[in-house]
């Protein structure tokens, strides 16, 4: 099971800050993970936006970055100033 974290407006869309989910075998990197989660969780493109950064096990990475079923993967929209 992987842990997926959704921050900021993504947490509002998903309705929770995180989920634990098995990752399908065909999902091998952050790019395919984004696409799968965006469709299956009803993000309606919000997860695919370029401004949403991704971190794997607390390290910010660039797409596509390998992921496995034991990773913590975080989706981070632009941070809030003000």
């Amino acid at each position: 099971m992987a842990t997926i974290l959704y921050f900021g407006k993504l947490s509002s869309i998903f309705g929770e800050l995180s989920e634990h989910t098995p990752i399908p075998v065909k999902i091998v990197d952050t790019k395919s993970l984004r696409e799968w989660l965006d469709q299956s969780r009803g993000f309606d493109g919000a997860l695919l936006h370029k401004s949403v950064r991704v971190a794997v096990n607390s390290e910010i990475v660039d797409d596509p970055f390998p992921v496995s079923d034991t990773d913590e993967i975080a989706f981070m929209p632009p941070v809030g100033g003000g």
Partner: protein
């Protein structure tokens, strides 16, 4: 040196604690950011903040390291709230101690620019009519570029 907390804190307590840590300094600057009662959208009821540990702490630590490299500082303190806050509640406290006042002023200013634009926090403002995630203002980015030379 860096504390991210979902518990309320008092500015006067933070100052008293910092003063004890910075014995021997000639100058202490503190900045306190408080939840404003009004926003563009109306009366603020709640400000909600999220952080992502340890990425948030690591980023702030790097900014503190950069400040300590740039200025001669004897002590630095950053406290940042997460969770739900009400108008008037402290959100952020930054304190710097230095032998001379210019270093203390500039380092506090620099750290606040980092915290306002690059620090990893997500902010949601809740008014009577809506709930809205906040993005950085152009003004905050402008302030931040002052330190790039």
């Amino acid at each position: 040196m860096i504390r991210i907390t979902d518990h309320p804190f008092q500015i006067a307590d933070a100052v008293a604690e910092f003063e004890r840590q910075s014995a021997g300094a000639g100058a202490i600057v503190t900045f306190s950011g408080l939840v404003r009662p009004q926003s563009a959208e109306g009366d603020v009821q709640t400000l909600h903040l999220q952080a992502y540990s340890p990425i948030t702490e690591n980023g702030i630590q790097q900014a503190v390291d950069a400040a300590q490299e740039k200025w001669s500082l004897s002590a630095v303190r950053v406290i940042h709230r997460i969770g739900d806050m009400a108008p008037g509640d402290p959100i952020v406290f930054v304190a710097t101690a230095a032998p001379h006042r210019r270093a203390a002023f500039e380092a506090a200013d620099f750290l606040m620019d980092y915290l306002k634009t690059e620090a990893i926090f997500w902010k949601k403002e809740i008014t009577a009519s809506e709930s809205r995630w906040i993005e950085p203002r152009a003004e905050d980015y402008r302030d931040r570029t002052r330190w790039n030379q």
